[in-house]
């Protein structure tokens, strides 16, 4: 055991006020959510309400008709553009199974909130509204 020399300082036990509060309490902080760039578009994800289900025929055509919508894609639309899924950073055991996790589900959703489609619009409000027009029939998996 090494003896530690007691070295009391003026700061131990003394309340310190934070130095970063001024911009935080006056609403002057820049979050990713309030960055505005010229010509910026807003993307909203459409997510699975089911924990485990097969995805069949997600339809973005009605969403595309909504005001301000620039594009809308399903997983199937984009699958050829992806080089792979989200890798597992730490396979705990050699036999651990790692399901393919693409940015958007193509055939099967595996958790509530798994993304199945995206809607891109000129404003966030337009994208949110249009996302409600994405139809996504799904079939529950039995497992």
């Amino acid at each position: 055991v090494t003896a530690t020399e007691a070295a009391p300082t003026a700061n131990v036990g003394v309340t310190r006020l934070r130095k970063e509060d001024a911009h935080l309490v006056t609403g002057r902080t820049r979050w990713t959510d309030n960055i505005q760039l010229p010509g910026m578009l807003h993307l909203v994800l459409v997510r699975s309400p089911m924990a485990h289900a097969r995805v069949s025929g997600v339809d973005v055509s009605a969403a595309l008709e909504q005001p301000g919508v620039v594009a809308a894609y399903t997983g199937a639309d984009l699958v050829d553009h992806w080089s792979g899924g989200l890798p597992c950073a730490w396979p705990v055991t050699e036999d651990m199974r790692t399901p393919v996790h693409l940015p958007l589900a193509t055939d099967e959703v595996r958790y509530v909130g798994d993304a199945v489609a995206v809607v891109v619009a000129q404003t966030r409000a337009q994208a949110v509204d249009a996302a409600e027009f994405v139809d996504g029939p799904t079939t529950r998996c039995r497992s």
Binding site: T15, R18, D21, A22, L24, V25
Partner: protein, 103 residues
């Protein structure tokens, strides 16, 4: 209200702070002397994922007292953030004093 949030350490990352402060201002305008429970009910729906709500509630009650023209609540725990009536660091004090409130 902004100064009270600072004094009571009512924020950490600051993400929920604008909503908390706006809701708190509205709350104390309607109820100048809210109890802890009334503050909690009044801020319901504003979620803080950093610190929890204890210091936020303290901040609102401190601001309410000051807005009523009273001394801030003296019931803060010994050694807790709430007793930081004296700003230790002059730089901190200046920064807060010179805080611009316009967006």
């Amino acid at each position: 209200m902004q100064k009270a949030f600072h004094t009571e350490h009512g924020l950490q990352c600051g993400y929920c702070t604008p909503g908390m402060i706006m809701a708190a201002i509205d709350l104390v305008e309607e109820n100048p002397d809210p109890t802890e429970e009334e503050v909690r009910a009044g801020l319901e729906g504003n979620l803080c994922r950093c610190t929890g709500y204890v210091n936020i509630v303290k901040a609102v009650r401190r601001a309410a007292a000051e807005l009523r023209g009273e001394a801030p609540p003296a019931d803060a725990e010994e050694g807790g953030v709430g007793v930081a009536d004296v700003v230790q660091d002059e730089e901190d004090a200046d920064r807060l004093r010179n805080m611009e409130v316009t967006p």
